[in-house]
Point group: C2
Chain length 366, copies 2
């Protein structure tokens, strides 16, 4: 929380994707506008907005967020918003209009990460920064997207793709800039850790899963979580953005938690360990060289391991780098408002570096 | 680690302070220049350098760091460096010369935080960013310095002042931007935590202190650590930069570890807790309102508390904020190369935002 200040020119945003995260962000930008201006000197104007069903709307004067939110709550088309110009798809809207930032929060499935990848490529190639909560585009093309951003001198941020609003990526990328990554281990899926915590207490897999579903943590079809695909995406994101290496899906050794035998829990407990679903990344040679080995699998974790005490929906990452040694980050791993929070932090980072630039110019011209 | 790239115009640095941290940084910038250029697109040129004994030297073409390091190792005056212009003090050098960043790593004692405060004020008023590892200037004047930086649109970063190279400040300030702070608890002094870990194992205070001194953790006069003054400075820094509130020294309730009775350890253990030296900050009213209450004192910590398992020279912060909940960051708390690493990460952050700007301009002019 730096000094109070008044915002300069507002940051014009395309908000592409209007599901849980997109709506949370729209509500927050609408209702917390004054706090964001006061605490961060950040003014935001959502000029473009898109959902998969209706298409893309644009108003250069800024859309009325509470009106669009009401329309969405009523099941009406966002394209009925008065005064807004419409395009059939987000990609066409992004091509034809102007903004200072793309917030990409569509749901882009694991197959090819589309339409997210196309939205991000188009935007970065126009020299406009991108913030996303969209896992698969970053998992599959993170190195390429970061390079595109870098070559145009703009930001590409994806904080909420790993452990939601818990600041993992910014800590490892920015906070530990200058260190040489060695290895990383983590518990990266809240649902899976919640289920394993229940199973360690003696519940069956089915009982623990049902409890996670009642708690709103697990989907009706839980396979993306329990088979380890969600964690695999996060490991690929960490490899791309922290280790600088693009992995393909088949390069990640993966085993889910659906077939863990009761005996495995007992074995772990007998040796004073706990069974966790551990994601890991490791360079094959010191100094950040060689291959990156990636694994997602159930593994016994010794009681002194910082990961052993991480229970329920809490997640954690333990990062080893030279010359720092081990740094651990623990926090909530899931939740729509937490994903929104990660996007908001990224958005503030982009807005701040832009307002610094404006203020510095004004300073020099004075 | 983003894409390989070639650096643009190098970032010109005044390196003020040439003790352990300053020398580590000079060595690292000298020997890792190629890696920094390759991995971060960051080129650095140390144009000014100062120590307390000899004064300030400046060479606009960049000083020869290995030559200056050799000179310092031989006990010779840095002002004998051939080709360098000299000033009797850093402040005069900063006033008369040009640079893009001040790295302030002098030792500025707790009384008034000088000469660090004066160096930073002068630099920020010139619209030049500041990176520092200097605790007391930030503890005593953090809000003022951050406001000066903000009003000139430049960065003020002090990562290594709290938990050294472990990225605490960047995580809480940037990574959790947009959240509303509620409270914070931490173990912020490596020496004290090391001594308490020894005492919990049955050692006397004197034995545990002697061990910390043999390990190179505790100073010969350990009072700044064991009386809690060092932790007090860190709490004041966190209050200023994360909670946005400037505290005065007398507003921090402080009790050291020198007079803990053996019985206190036994009492804690009997109730299943561990005795730790806990720093805490808390808003008196929800929503980041009211007073900030600050404490540094021995306290029993329940076994399920994330702070309970933090032993030896490892430190930790548990931060509570809305809407995220609890985020914990654990890592090494001290060490000269770790303080240097925190400064390096800050320096890279400044260099990157500057090179983004340059690249964007080149992009537009193309």
């Amino acid at each position: 929380m730096p000094a109070p200040t008044s915002p300069g020119m507002p940051l014009r945003i395309w908000l592409v994707g209007f599901g849980t995260v997109g709506k949370w962000l729209a509500r927050t930008l609408d209702s917390h506008a004054r706090r964001l201006a006061r605490d961060y000197g950040v003014g935001v104007s959502v000029v473009g907005l898109a959902n998969a069903r209706d298409g893309f709307i644009y108003d250069e004067r800024g859309l009325d967020l509470s009106s669009v939110l009401r329309r969405a709550a009523d099941g009406a088309a966002i394209t009925d918003e008065p005064g807004a110009r419409c395009w059939p798809s987000a990609l066409e809207g992004i091509r034809d209009t102007e903004a200072d930032l793309l917030v990409e929060v569509t749901s882009s499935p694991s197959g090819d990460g589309e339409p997210g990848v196309a939205h991000m490529r188009e935007t970065l190639e126009r020299g406009i920064p991108v913030v996303t909560s969209n896992k698969w585009p970053v998992a599959l093309h993170g190195v390429e997207l970061a390079e595109r951003a870098h070559s145009h001198g703009v930001a590409f941020r994806a904080e909420s793709t790993v452990m939601s609003g818990t600041p993992v990526l910014s800590s490892l990328i920015d906070g530990l800039a200058g260190t040489v990554p060695i290895a990383l281990r983590g518990l990266l899926n809240a649902t899976v850790n919640f289920i394993l915590t229940g199973m360690a207490e003696g519940k069956s897999y089915e009982q623990a899963l049902a409890e996670a579903q009642r708690a709103g943590l697990a989907e009706r079809d839980p396979s993306a979580d329990v088979e380890g695909y969600d964690t695999m995406a996060k490991v690929m994101i960490l490899s791309a953005l922290v280790f600088g290496r693009q992995l393909r899906r088949e390069q990640v050794t993966r085993r889910g938690i659906t077939e863990i035998a009761r005996a495995e829990f007992e074995q772990a407990a007998a040796s004073g360990a706990r069974l966790k679903h551990v994601a890991s990344l490791e360079f094959s040679e010191p100094g950040g060289l060689g291959e990156v080995h990636a694994r997602v699998m159930p593994a016994p974790v010794g009681r002194d391991d910082p990961l052993a005490s991480i229970d329920g929906a809490t997640n954690a990452v333990v990062f080893r780098a030279s010359p720092v040694g081990e740094v651990a980050i623990t926090g909530p791993g899931a939740g729509p408002q937490l994903a929104g929070q990660g996007v908001l932090a990224d958005l503030i980072a982009v807005a701040r570096s832009r307002s610094k630039l404006h203020r510095r110019r004004a300073d020099r011209d004075a």
